[in-house]
């Protein structure tokens, strides 16, 4: 357990070092993309839990990200001023769910406060994940891939086809997310450092949660389900329920990432729900070594950051394709585990449930 947390501690130090380095170099702007990367990483580690530890592929996780982002964006931008008179609206605004805020280009808007919006988004995600996950996780192999892909496409189509969600333009002018006085998730450059720490703090918290989970009774049961499902069920592990819970857990991670990144970016567009995004997330988890949370996190950090900085230029998708292909051909257990972590000890290899599931 000491080892588990020392790695987390080292990672936290690493993040602080980066911040200090940018501070001394006078290049604080690097933190912007690093912050965005943090939110994508939050999704990635959740997905890693699902793919690597529960052995269930999902080609539709961008859908959950979009649900979170869109619900929150919709609720915090939909102006209810015209309905001010109605009983429900006035009740909600009295209870603090609705707030008046100045519009970006003048005027005041009556919108849902980000906190309740976030809660609604997460709750909706949980409900959808349970409804979808139940039947979907009964499927295996290609059928599972198809079903999750289908789910992702449905979300994309709904987002693209619904005018109140901005159709192809998405939703813009999403306000910042005030966490508590003086601290808000927002793209404002004066809040860059605090946002950086907040975002990565959340990722670290997520990492701690998931690492704990992996090394707990539940993690052991998941590894068992992944390794030999019938044997796991013969010793009393409710395999279907565990898969479902992991699915919902990873969906919540994705959705939370969607909510927060949307507030950070000030908007969301349908590209966040696209199939290519889902494929990217899987690519990152695969590159990290499937059942390897640290691998997924590191890969997400590097690849998302480079991509968001535009280093790949017009070869953005191609770079992901090549990485995916090379890793799957030559190092299906992931780059990091094979060369670096294997030398660092058996910390992870013990929990590596072998070749990924089928």
């Amino acid at each position: 357990m000491v080892r588990r947390y020392s790695a987390v501690f080292a990672f936290a130090l690493f993040l602080v070092a980066i911040q200090l380095a940018t501070l001394f170099a006078g290049a604080g702007y690097y933190l912007t993309q690093l912050t965005m990367t943090a939110y994508y990483s939050l999704l990635t580690i959740g997905l890693c839990m699902l793919i690597g530890y529960a052995g269930q592929i999902s080609l539709g996780h961008a859908g959950f990200f979009a649900i979170g982002g869109y619900v929150s964006a919709f609720l915090t931008t939909c102006d209810l001023t015209p309905h001010k008179g109605s009983a429900l609206v006035s009740l909600l605004s009295k209870s603090g769910v609705l707030v008046f805020r100045p519009g970006l280009y003048g005027g005041t808007l009556l919108t849902v406060h980000p906190w309740p919006a976030c809660v609604v988004a997460i709750l909706l995600t949980v409900v959808i994940a349970y409804l979808v996950g139940g039947p979907v996780l009964k499927l295996r192999g290609h059928y599972l891939a198809m079903a999750t892909l289908g789910f992702g496409i449905i979300i994309l189509r709904i987002v693209l086809g619904t005018e109140s969600l901005g159709a192809a333009d998405g939703i813009s002018d999403v306000p910042g997310f005030p966490l508590f006085p003086g601290l808000a998730i927002s793209g404002d450059s004066s809040l860059r450092v605090s946002n950086y720490y907040m975002a990565w703090g959340l990722v670290i918290l997520g990492m701690v949660f998931l690492l704990n989970l992996v090394h707990s009774r539940v993690g052991r049961a998941l590894a068992a389900v992944h390794g030999a499902e019938d044997a796991a069920s013969a010793v009393g592990i409710p395999t279907a329920r565990y898969k479902l819970h992991t699915f919902v857990l990873s969906a919540v991670f994705a959705s939370l990432a969607g909510v927060l990144l949307t507030h950070y970016n000030g908007g969301i567009g349908p590209s966040e729900a696209s199939v290519m995004k889902s494929v990217r997330y899987v690519a990152i988890v695969a590159a990290g070594g499937m059942a390897n949370l640290w691998g997924a996190l590191m890969m997400s950090l590097v690849l998302n950051y480079l991509s968001l900085r535009g280093y790949f230029g017009t070869f953005d998708d191609a770079v992901f394709g090549i990485i995916l292909l090379l890793i799957m051909l030559f190092a299906p257990d992931g780059l990091l585990r094979r060369h670096i972590l294997a030398d660092l000890g058996r910390m992870f290899s013990r929990n590596a449930a072998g070749e990924e599931g089928s």
Binding site: I57, H142, G150, R157
Partner: protein, 317 residues
Amino acid sequence: MLRSGACARSACSRSLHEERTKDLEFFFQYLVAGITYGTIYAIVAIGFNIIYNATGIINFAQGEFVMLGGMTAVTLHRFMPLPAAILGAVVLTTIVGAIIEIAFIRWLRRPSVLRMIVITIALSILIRETALHIWGESVRSLPYFTGSSMTSFQWGGVYVSPQILWVIGIGVFVVAALGAFFNLTMLGRQMRACSANRDAARLCGINAGNMVTLSFMISAAIGALGGCIICPITYVQYDSGTPLAIKGFTVAILGGLGNSTAAVGAGMILGILESFSIWVLPAAYKEVIAISILLLILFVRPSGIFGSAEAARLKDF
């Protein structure tokens, strides 16, 4: 019989009888549209099935074969007549299929399903991006095989473009030819033996590796041919493969993986469903409906509409 030129007529002056005929005409028009979609999807789905049968892999790059076929044909058509261009495109794409199998698939030992899904997705991305950097982002298309984009046959108020007849005709031909190949030729039987039991086939002296390469070549050829024949109806662009692959995959699953005849049926069902869904619902949600139905079918009958449940259970994943 009323035909087109509808502008002058006001809606209320129509008699009930005319209304009925009209509805019937539209019914058939939607049906034709559905059959067109269905045939296109089925051709892609057959490509999926051939590789699936030989290897147990779903080749997510199948749509890219379709795109490559169309793109190459358009390029070749600048220098040679249409039939030669199409033939050339099919041959070139077949070679690409063979190269892909030899370079990326052949030497993998018992890869897991997840690994193969990811590899073929990666290949699909790479082919697409390569096409972008070779051909650029612009839209291309082949001329209609007969007539032009204006010509159409007409039965009553139902119109059919000759190209659709080409698509359907070639679709039928492909299914028939494949059936003959797998049932009547030695090579086809060997491929079937391989897909049934690779180890046993190997014991009988069949080179299983070559059979897999062959399956990639056949499905690349079918994909490319499909790309050429649908190119005049739609158009081809570097990224037009992916949406087709998703539809083709949907149809392959709907029909039951590995069953090409069922894929034709499933393609028709999906195509007609999509087409009629537009009749009653906004077109923006067309795909939502198609995929929701696919998901429902997956939940109830994972083996597909036509597949047998027992057979699906036997397939090891």
